[in-house]
Symmetry: C2
DNA sequence: AGAATAGTGTCTATCAGACACTATGCA
DNA sequence: TGCATAGTGTCTGATAGACACTATTCT
């Protein structure tokens, strides 16, 4: 097993506080945690909000459920060379490795950075948490065969009362707060329906995320305003339901 | 000058992909950037939004203006020992070192993590940006004598068209977006007035941050509702102005 | 007395919530 | 034909914006 490098040089040499750059440099040497990226990946299946979890095979937290994640690839270089991958790159790579979905087909955004000392018992790890939204029509392709990856969709309502590895429970809470707040003033709901969708389908997304019901008439009126504002537009075809088929719409990315 | 430690062991040994833990460990060894904390510190002085900047004395970006910041202290230990300071601790320490204001007297919150490869030309540095809000009655104590610290309050309207060191210009933009959005649905405006304040004073905060004017009557009505809702309460005394003195209020933290 | 700003009242357009009602396709 | 759900219409209360007006203190 590869051991993390030791900062013996920095630790043994006392910083020279009279030279500010020396002072800074000594702190930089002392500040070399591992940096990870963890992702709270949501989808909606069976009118239920799901999160993608992985069962850990190794300690610590062996056999616990955890969020997908991994370490950021960092190059060792100065001004000229490569310094490794961007944080968004690391998150996108992790996301596509875990879901096997093509890049760009999944909404991905930085969430919050978790860096509490001791959050990983092995060594100091700072994790830049992200969240992702997978359209329900793509979700069945994720974790389809459990032989490809060990990831499974689990109901959020069950998972919140389940101890997750590390501080992943906190990450899930923060991610839930984020999407519950953000759905009201940003178009993230359109990331949790197929490219074309009916108003009742969109309403179901709001109801699942907010945990309340919406009056069908009032909800429709709100999105009819978005049609006249050009934010969404009618799409050809109809959505077949158990009764009367519904008109489908499409989100206009740059109205 | 202290050199950053090299991860020669990890770089020369090929990861053993058949053992997942070995694989992970090798990535962890490869993922040891420096981690910094930078802070966008706002206040309002002379009816103008200000940000605290520092003139860099050393390369890179020598003589450029930069945000206050510093490296996170990270311990080298496993399960039992100390792993260093939390991110919030690092930010609070940096904030109090730079402003000399007592802890807890300044609002401080994590903003976003900037980790683009190459953002620091020396080595890979990932910076967890924060923002802080200093009450205007405390602001004059900050950077009062330029002998204590080298920090100065600069007008945001000037700074946005000024090249800052590293990606600190991006940090400022993100921080501005954040407070402009958040002032509408969270009580952060109360962090930019003295503990007691008049309605016109509070209105001035909104006007400076949003860059618009508010109708005095309509604005007052909104905050009168907050009085009846117990979010703010009348405080004794009056605020002396050039004309009619104004009633003062106090924010009720837990109504 | 007059300037300046605090503070009140009123009209209107917009929008959310509640809810009754109509339309249409499927079993 | 009846059921289920799509889709429409209407009433009401809350609120934001525009703006006219009154109140109080300082100079």
């Amino acid at each position: 097993m590869v051991r993390p490098p030791q900062t013996t040089a920095a630790a043994s040499e006392a910083p020279n506080h009279s030279d500010p750059d020396d002072y800074i440099e000594s702190f930089r040497a002392l500040s070399r945690p591992s940096v990870a990226v963890d992702i709270v990946i949501f989808t909606i299946l069976d009118a239920d909000l799901k999160v993608l979890l992985i069962k850990r095979k190794n300690p610590p937290f062996q056999e616990s459920w955890a969020l997908p994640g991994g370490f950021v690839v960092v190059g060792e270089s100065g001004a000229d060379g490569e310094q490794g991958e961007d944080l968004e790159e690391a998150a996108a790579r992790q996301l596509s490795e875990e879901t096997r979905l093509p890049r760009g087909s999944v909404f991905l955004e930085q969430l919050y950075t978790f860096g509490r000392a001791g959050r990983d018992p092995r060594t100091r790890v700072i994790s830049v948490a992200h969240y992702a939204l997978v359209r329900p029509n793509l979700a069945p392709f994720v974790a389809a065969g459990e032989d490809t990856t060990d990831a499974v969709w689990r109901s959020v309502s069950e998972v919140v009362s389940l101890p997750l590895a590390f501080d992943h429970g906190d990450m899930l809470s923060v991610a839930l707060d984020r999407i519950r707040g953000k759905i009201d003033y940003s178009p993230i709901a359109f990331e949790l329906v197929p490219e074309t969708f009916s108003i009742p389908e969109l309403r179901a997304v709001y109801e699942v995320i907010k945990g309340t019901t919406y009056d069908p008439g009032n909800f429709r009126r709100k999105f009819n305003r978005m049609v006249t504002d050009g934010i969404i537009e009618r799409a050809p075809g109809k959505r077949i339901t158990a009764s009367k088929p519904a008109q489908v719409f499409r989100f206009v990315r740059n109205p």
